[in-house]
């Protein structure tokens, strides 16, 4: 898969997003969120952040500060599918570490997490593995989000199967538990 890492969001789209939210509270967060969403690889590329800064007059260092504070923002291109494993206390006690270990079998993934990264994307830009501190769904632990859909009481077998399906571009919609 040929990935253009210089991928950036059309400045016209950014202009529209900025105009739409002008003057509203939390303007910057919303703009950054929508610009990330507008990027094909769901991340805040350098050119777009520069453009947001010049248009909104928010200094680059502050944009970077916001982008690195919230784990929602990505500074690297994301895979086609994203699996987010909750590493909060409740999920941890219910075995979310095992789920993460199942996922970090992807080549290079374990090294990245061991080095302190909280996000890993496969070279072919197909799958991104991330962790979060808590989804707030502790009663359903362990919790995993796949492409924005939250799955609860996930088992090791299910996650392995899911990974397989995603890799074969054959996403199993039925891993949701009963």
């Amino acid at each position: 898969m040929n990935v253009n890492l210089e991928n950036q969001v059309d400045t016209k789209i950014i202009d529209e997003i900025i105009t739409k939210h002008k003057g509203k509270p939390g303007e910057l967060l919303t703009v950054m969120e929508e610009v990330q969403e507008a990027n094909d690889y769901k991340y805040l590329d350098e050119a777009s952040m520069g453009y947001i800064s010049s248009k909104s007059k928010v200094p680059l260092s502050q944009i970077y500060s916001v982008a690195t504070f919230y784990s929602f923002f990505n500074l690297k291109p994301q895979g086609k599918h994203t699996i987010i494993v909750c590493r909060g206390t409740a999920c941890h006690t219910k075995g979310s570490k095992i789920l993460l270990d199942d996922l970090t079998t992807l080549p290079g993934c374990k090294d990245a997490f061991d080095a302190g990264e909280t996000s890993f994307t496969t070279d072919d830009k197909l799958i991104t593995i991330k962790t979060v501190a808590c989804f707030g769904q502790c009663a359903l632990a362990p919790v995993v989000a796949v492409d924005g859909v939250i799955y609860s009481n996930v088992t090791s077998e299910q996650i392995k199967k899911l990974l397989e399906n995603l890799q074969e571009e054959n996403k199993d919609e039925n891993i949701r538990l009963s």
Partner: protein, 590 residues
């Protein structure tokens, strides 16, 4: 008007204090000391360290005295078993991730964290390190950041944003990964940083320091094949004494000269000479711009942090900058041409060292265009491009110079006073006051008035241009020609004047801008701490030296007359154009 007083109780005693202050400042007002770490008056109250906690009757928890207001009737306890444990624990937690290399640290003996550890009687560091060792940011020619020594107090961020409006750094990450960072971690040398060094001046530890070049200089001093000459900026004579254990702002010109000679410099010269030269060139440039309807207002160009600021943030306004190089760079260009000719030596043998109150000067001297002397000699001596040299080889801050004096055993306060060498050490009072905000303007007026009107200026002390007000303005009457001028210090104030220019509403003909609060005397390379009270003392000393000088107008400096007669011929002439003037580049924000 007398400010309203309120009644407060501190440690069981009743006091009256000024209304509207924090608990911390109220206690300071009545002489009760509360230990602090991240707090820095007028700059930062980030409330991140938890050292200044006190008990307030009725409050559920300990409160941070730096951000909590003292109110009528408040009952404060500044020390108790609970407070002491909290302060100690908070400090121990900070120390867990701070390297324990005080013995070999640049700030050894001048570190707020070290002082506080002693103050709170820290004997062990019970908590284990939780953070990996981060990379040192070596990308800037002026400043080095060692995030490992950072305690996340936020002072540098506050000074960069609120005083300078540069926003080169901010917090990045969250929790354990929190750090002070530039955009995309690119490093200070690769973002829109002006190198002003105010961050280094307010840093409580050695997390941001100047790039130290003293080793290279000592090697050159000990090399018999080199002629190492030194120039000292006006603000050094009111700062170095302080750094050598003398009084704040003490005027120590003679001792400084003696100490530099002891260090081994072959000639000790004065940047004030070059400041006088700057006044000649800049004064005539202003007159020429007014006569020929050139771009006005013209803005001074002595302060390299300011130059980089306008190049980054207001590149459209670059034509307003005087084309004059800063005094430091004029000195270098003159030293390696005019003075080299006088000595009849190969200019490549001359090493020019500047002692500056400034970290941005380190960047300035390495700007690729600052090789005027090389271009002057290139054809005459048939020099190959690979032999090219900078006009100024090294810049040392006041702090680095103090370290060199200490290492070489200079007994500074007991040295007899000595005079600068000739001819590049001859200067006037006008050159001296360059070190204070408003000084360049005052010096320029002293000369421009007499050149334009042909009459002597009766009152040469222009009090309206003195003092620490952010933006000062004045209207000058030059033989019927009214000239509005303004003086700004800090880049925040400079920004105000630039925005006026870009909106087309600037009423001024001439503007002086200094990057640092108070002018060079409050520069990023000056001794730590630098407070407003200390700045005032340094300023008083500079104006005192001006009063003591027999000659107080740049155009009356005999050495300046001589350099024009023998070498430059006339202000704005061909040689001046080649050696003393420069141009600027559009950088933009990145």
């Amino acid at each position: 008007m007398e400010k309203k007083k309120i009644n407060i109780i501190v440690d069981g005693k009743e006091y009256q204090v000024t209304e509207g202050k924090s608990i911390l400042e109220s206690c300071r007002e009545i002489g009760i000391k509360i230990p602090t770490l991240c707090y820095l008056k007028d700059i930062s109250q980030n409330a991140s360290c938890g050292i200044c906690v006190v008990e307030v009757k009725g409050a559920r928890t300990l409160v941070r005295s730096c951000i909590s207001k003292a109110t009528e009737g408040i009952n404060i306890t500044t020390h108790s078993a609970a407070i002491n444990i909290a302060r100690k624990t908070n400090l121990e937690l900070l120390l867990a991730n701070h390297p324990k290399d005080c013995l070999i640290c640049e700030r050894n003996g001048n570190c707020e964290l070290q002082d506080l550890s002693a103050l709170l009687g820290i004997k062990e560091t019970p908590f284990e390190r939780t953070k990996p060792v981060p990379k040192i940011d070596n990308s800037s020619l002026s400043l080095i950041r060692n995030p490992d020594k950072c305690i996340l107090c936020g002072r540098c961020i506050a000074v960069c944003a609120d005083v300078q409006t540069v926003y080169a750094i901010d917090f990045a990450g969250r929790g354990l990964k929190s750090k002070v960072s530039t955009y995309l971690d690119q490093g200070l040398g690769n973002v829109a940083c002006t190198n002003c060094g105010q961050c280094a001046l307010v840093c409580p530890t050695a997390a941001i320091i100047e790039r130290d070049e003293s080793k290279e200089i000592m090697a050159d001093i000990y090399d018999d094949n080199k002629i190492v000459i030194v120039q000292t900026a006006p603000a050094i004579r009111v700062g170095i004494g302080e750094a050598m254990g003398m009084g704040e702002g003490e005027l120590v010109t003679g001792k400084m000269v003696a100490a530099l000679r002891k260090l081994g410099f072959s000639k000790v010269f004065d940047t004030d000479f070059a400041a006088d030269l700057t006044i000649m060139e800049e004064g005539f440039e202003l007159i020429s711009r007014i006569k020929n309807k050139g771009t006005l207002p013209m803005i001074t160009s002595c302060s390299p942090g300011w130059i980089k600021f306008i190049e980054h943030f207001f590149p459209k306004s670059l034509s307003h900058l005087s084309t004059c190089k800063s005094p430091q760079q004029m000195f270098g260009a003159v030293a390696k041409t005019y003075y080299a000719e006088k000595l009849n030596v190969d200019p490549r043998k001359i090493v020019v060292v500047s002692i500056m109150p400034c970290t941005a000067k380190k960047f300035e001297c390495k700007r690729p265009e600052m090789k005027s002397a090389f271009h002057y000699w290139k054809e005459k001596l048939n020099l190959p491009e690979k032999d090219s040299f900078f006009d100024v080889d090294y810049v040392l801050t006041t702090r680095e110079l103090a370290r060199m004096f200490k290492v070489t055993g200079v007994d500074f306060s007991n040295l007899p006073e000595e005079d600068f060498d000739h001819p590049l050490g001859i200067s006037t009072g006008a050159g001296v006051i360059f070190g204070a905000t408003g000084g360049v303007m005052e010096a320029a007026v002293r000369t421009a008035y007499e050149v334009i009107t042909g009459k002597p200026l009766e009152k040469i002390e222009l009090n309206v241009l003195r003092g620490f007000e952010g933006i000062k303005e004045a209207e000058l009457d030059l033989n019927g020609t009214k000239l509005k001028v303004a003086v700004a210090h800090t880049l925040k104030n400079a920004r105000v004047l630039l925005e006026q220019i870009e909106e087309g509403t600037s009423p001024y003909a001439f503007i002086e801008v200094m990057t640092c609060p108070g002018g060079c005397l409050g520069g990023g390379g000056q001794p730590i701490p630098t407070t407003w009270a200390i700045r005032q003392k340094r300023s008083d000393s500079l104006y005192k030296e001006d009063r003591l000088k027999p000659i107080r107008k740049s155009h009356e400096n005999p050495a300046i007359k001589a350099i024009y007669d023998d070498f430059l011929k006339e202000p704005l002439g061909h040689v001046s154009h080649e050696l003393l003037h420069t141009d600027y580049i559009e950088r933009g924000i990145y």
